[in-house]
Subunit: 133 residues, 2 copies
């Protein structure tokens, strides 16, 4: 359990940076060299190496040296674990959205006239009201 | 787009701490006072207030003072946004798992005897092999 917590800590912390998320998006299309990963970002090679180190420590990528080229590859398990953790809250937010939808769909009449006695449910279409003259 | 990035940064960074995730788990059951949130964690009131500040800044909770009691409540949008971002990778990890499953299910014969010529597909059930005597 501690290890699970620890890896979730590292995963979420690593994902909390736009450059690192962008690197992961690039690697989703397939493995890439460090030079290829530097190109789209306007940052130095040492800076990108630091980001790659954080991603590797979190287990989100693996690096392999092939000759003189360092290749990076996305690994799936930590991201799946993070998604699993967030999915525990899906029921909660779906309930909240349902409540919001119900609130927005309730007849406006009740909101405008809170002292009005409850009446049998009416369709929500707007009908012109008769004014007392 | 910049705002979306910014809020994802704050959301993932806030989720990268076990105490803050534990607070969110508690709040999933309903709103709670700060005193109720301190109880299960062996940390000081100032420390919990700091965590609540980070969660509030990320928009993951809202705080409201009712009389002398500060109540906290979970808000769903940022967590849903984080889940949406991770779900973009679902196709990738499902493909990887499919490949792994295919690899594990391929007939062991091919792995044991790589020089063997390809033969017509055979059922995977094990049949006793005749030994040359």
């Amino acid at each position: 359990m501690v290890k699970y917590h620890h890896s979730l800590d590292a995963t979420f912390a690593a994902l909390g940076d736009p450059t690192r998320r962008s690197i992961l998006t690039t690697l989703q299309r397939g493995q890439a060299s460090v030079t290829e990963l530097v190109r789209p970002h306007k940052i130095s090679m040492p800076a990108i190496m630091k980001h790659l180190g954080v991603l590797e420590q979190a287990g989100l990528i693996s690096q392999q040296k092939i000759g003189r080229v360092r290749m990076c590859r996305l690994t799936v398990a930590p991201m799946q674990q993070a998604a699993d953790w967030l999915s525990l809250y899906r029921v909660f937010w779906e309930n909240q959205l349902d409540s919001l939808e119900k609130f927005l769909n309730q007849p406006q009449q009740e909101e405008l006239d809170p002292c009005r006695k409850p009446s049998p449910r009416q369709p929500s279409s707007h009908k012109p009201r008769h004014r007392h003259s």
